[in-house]
Assembly symmetry: C2
Homo-oligomer: 392 residues x 2
């Protein structure tokens, strides 16, 4: 057995990791826009990237390296360095050259507007402001934000029964473009667990399915989505099950925080699909619901319009029957196999549920045992406002 103890040390939760965020003038008003993560020893790396074919330069740069250890990640916001071709890769090389000889296989990660070259001089000037002896995880988490309204961090100390322990901590940014199949998201995880690269990759691949790949803000998938784990193994301690659970808990927390902080979002909704033909079909339904504009605007309007939910289930392409379907808002069942129908009393109860900042919409398809949970948010005026003039 083991215990997970929450920490507020973010990506600096483990001994030997340093981080900070500074302003290099990429964002207006001296907001923080560059961050680093530094490790005083070399780290194994595990990673998951976007499936977007137009992958950004930093992702190509990473993939070009093959197998390697690193001790440094440089992150900038405001500019995604995507659709920048060979020049985008050359910019990264030039910038990373300026990071100093003590950086081993330094990495770069970018988020922001697509299609502009990086402001190289500003970033190089920013690199010179970095002090790698700092442990300011919160400043780093602030610096990687784009349209996020708050920073996202999570960390655990994992205590095993024999009194030994290891740490795992993370920061992330999300906001728009969050889609099942990654998101406009960056997530950096650090650990001192004595985990092998392959175990780390396996745990990451598995956790991503029910966390970052189960959330949707607007159904778009970005060019830059990245999750990295760095492990320095300093604790000398590792237990597979505990590591996996801690990692999944952290990623789950950050995924829900991203959804809750979706652009203009006021509600965090869990779509709990059961009774589908199989898990895959349940996933299709859950993601169809979390992506549906009609459902999302009904959530915003706090209108328990279950007809739109039924219609979206029907349109998702999976096996589904009007006479087997059951729909609930939390514990208020509004449609049950065509026998229980919505009435005024239920409508009032269901509308009440929808006033909450967090609730669950359940659909039981009544066919077999397939199940999946996805997470989404509502879509209101703020989303339109943010996205109608994102670049200005």
């Amino acid at each position: 057995m083991y215990k997970l103890i929450l920490s507020d040390a973010g990506v600096c939760a483990s001994d030997g990791f340093f981080a900070d965020g500074i302003s290099a003038g990429l964002k207006a008003q001296n907001a923080k826009d560059m961050a680093f993560i530094y490790s005083d020893t070399e780290c194994e790396v595990a990673s998951v990237f976007t499936t977007n074919k137009m992958e950004a330069a930093p992702i190509k740069h990473f993939k070009n390296k093959g197998n390697f250890k690193t001790n440094f990640v440089l992150i900038n916001s405001k500019n995604a360095n995507a659709m920048t071709g060979i020049k985008g890769l050359e910019d990264i090389d030039e910038i990373l050259l300026e990071c100093g000889d003590d950086k081993v296989n330094p990495l770069m990660s970018s988020t922001g507007v697509i299609g502009n070259r990086l402001p190289k001089e500003k970033i190089i000037d920013g690199v010179k402001l970095f002090d790698i002896t700092q442990k300011n995880p919160h400043a780093a988490a602030l610096a990687i934000m784009t349209t996020d309204s708050y920073s996202k961090e999570c960390a655990f100390r994992v205590e095993l029964d024999d009194g030994s322990s290891f740490n795992i901590g993370a920061m992330a940014k999300g906001a728009g473009m969050i889609n099942p199949a990654m998101a406009t998201m960056l997530c950096f995880i650090t650990t001192d667990a004595n985990v092998s690269k392959s175990d780390m990759q396996e745990a990451l691949d598995e956790s991503v399915k029910t966390t970052f790949n189960a959330i949707s803000v607007d159904g778009d998938t970005s060019t830059n989505d990245t999750v990295l784990i760095l492990s320095n193994a300093k604790s000398g301690v590792y237990q597979k099950k505990a590591f996996k659970e801690a990692l999944t808990k952290i990623m789950h927390f950050l995924a829900l925080e991203m959804t809750r902080d979706g652009e203009g979002a006021t509600k965090l909704v869990t779509y709990n699909i059961t009774g589908a033909k199989d898990d895959k079909e349940a996933e299709v339904v859950a993601k169809a619901l979390s992506d549906s504009l009609l459902v999302k605007t009904a959530l915003y309007g706090e209108d328990p319009n279950w007809g739109r939910i039924a219609s979206t289930v029907g349109a998702s392409g999976v096996e589904a029957y009007e006479e087997k379907l059951k729909i609930s808002f939390d514990d208020v069942c509004v449609y049950d196999k065509g026998e229980v129908f919505f009435n005024e009393e239920m409508e009032i109860k269901a509308a009440k549920v929808m006033t909450h900042a967090k609730f669950t919409i359940s659909c039981d398809l009544g066919i077999a045992n397939g199940k999946f949970k996805a997470y989404g948010c509502d879509l209101g005026y703020e989303y339109v406002k943010i996205n109608a003039d994102y670049r200005t």
Copy 2:
């Protein structure tokens, strides 16, 4: 050869067809909410329906009939008679019984809110107000509207070289939930062409691909989508090519009108995809763009954010390369294989294009000859407003 001559007679363009719209109190303020189409002889029918598994009662009712001729279609708005189970079918039977013995295999079609039983008494009272000697196609077109802001009709007289002619006319309603794979749309087409049922069905199936199945307002597919053609063959005239062209032109016009009148839409955008691996992949890209929230909100904001377009192409799953892609707004090329890049001058030009009510976004994937055109609109505050409280 042949000539197509525009007419404003809508579904009454052909001899022997009658139509009207009345108010039965389903909508507020005595707005028209029930319509009929009547033919003084029996008609062959061709049809296309939604692919939504939760198909509405009127669609089940139609499909249960098998092969038949009809002379009457009753249409109501405000209530979709969907998710109403066996009761929904029984309601249709009861209502149609009241339509009079002169109605042969009468049909019903509904649009509006999902999940409520039809207000049967009101509808039966409405039926009694019908005067089947009326030719008021415009009143009928008004009665079938839901959130449409204007009615949609189109008709042609088709003149052949030998001086003979036939007619074809239509009315439609659209607005929200318009998705590639039909839409929250109803479309009724009447003709006196001497066309066989099989030719009529073939022409309809083919035309729907590039018209009603190529448009998107919000990516949702409704429970009620229906296109019907009724032919009374009264002209005794038919020419396959002319019939097909007239039908496609009518459906294309109505499809674009639906998109232009998408909920809250201010712009009608053509997505012209070329150079894809094949036509299917071009279609995937075109529909991904017309459905993308990030693209739609950028359109609304008149922000020529081509990075979002590139990202959506990349996320669509088709073969695509940053170094082969070309993106234009009308004739303003903003990205060309990573060689031509966006600059301030181009940005001003492209932003100018976006101020128009109608423009084309072209993406050439530079791979092979696959091509497809889809049609979409922007998404602004009005969409959210309409859909956050549709039912109230």
